[in-house]
């Protein structure tokens, strides 16, 4: 736990993702990689910290007696993860994943078009559509893009994240 001390997590989250743009862009250009795939890390990196924070909170919310019971039973290794740690942390993971997924849609607007000097990489996607529309000052396309993205987020929340969250709360709640 000491390694994952919350302040360190916050410190890592404050790391500006822009700093790794040159590395990612030059690797994609030099390696002739597909920007549709390799720009994704930029999108995901900035938001996965939500998951980390929530998992840290979940791990510290495990009641001491639950830990002791595990020790008393000699539950160790994979069995400990499978029966105690992962179920206990699962609802917190889902909470973090919901936040991260929303944030990642947001981040797609800035990361699907990556520029570094003369190099400009574009991925095919809603994020780059919005990005191009705003660059061109095309108000209508911008609105269409933003509305579609908002719809995506809402529909995904309703159809995927809510059921997952409800199940996590129902089955894995520590009371």
């Amino acid at each position: 736990m000491t390694f994952f001390a919350p302040f360190r997590g916050i410190f890592l989250a404050a790391f500006p993702v822009n700093l790794i743009y040159p590395i990612v862009v030059s690797s994609i250009v030099l390696g002739r990689l597909n920007p549709d795939i390799w720009l994704s890390p930029l999108m995901i990196l900035g938001t996965q910290w939500y998951i980390l924070f929530n998992v840290i909170v979940g791990a510290s919310a495990i009641p001491p007696d639950m830990r002791y019971a595990g020790e008393n039973f000699h539950v160790r290794g994979w069995l400990w993860w499978k029966r105690i740690a992962l179920p206990a942390v699962f609802p917190f993971y889902v909470t973090g994943a919901i936040t991260a997924s929303g944030g990642s849609w947001n981040a797609s607007v800035v990361s699907e078009v990556a520029e570094w000097g003369q190099q400009r990489l574009t991925a095919t996607g809603l994020g780059s559509y919005i990005s191009h529309a705003t660059d061109a000052g095309d108000f209508r396309r911008t609105v269409v893009g933003v509305v579609v993205m908002a719809l995506f987020v809402v529909v995904l929340n309703r159809l995927f994240w809510r059921p997952v969250f409800a199940r996590a709360e129902r089955k894995f709640r520590m009371t």
Partner: protein, 177 residues
Amino acid sequence: MNANAQALLAPLLDVQGVCKSFRKPDGDELVVLENVNLTLRPGEIVGLLGRSGSGKSTLLRTIAGLELPSGGAVNYLGQPVVGPAEGIAMVFQSFALFPWLTVLENVKLGLEALRHPEADMRSRSLKAIDLIGLDARLLVPGERPADRGRSRTGQQRPATVNGIMRQYVLLVSRSGS
């Protein structure tokens, strides 16, 4: 004296001069246990009484090897307890079950950790559950907590489990007995 009688008189558990203190956030020392001596022989049932906060659970955790004493020693079957001791089972006050496991899975967990074969775990666990009059099917996956407590068996569960488990029970047993 024959070997059997000697074994009966030898203490299962020997707590000698156990002290336990914690460091408070302001740096002061909080002494919870001071020079505690306790000897437990086979067949004895000992009740430990005390006000809340008087250190009963700290002593039990120390005996079970879940916490190390700041001073003194705990011996179980003549061996010093330096970690979670095998053969000392502890039932906790504020926590009885892993809520995401069925009763059967909860009971099996201890045997699972000792890598017992599946069939053996199952039959031993079912026997133990039967002994305390619980229904192993309770809390089967898919059952909603909202439904718990509505059925008759659902109402029995908290009552029975709490009745047996809410008090401190320290089961000291030799394996196989």
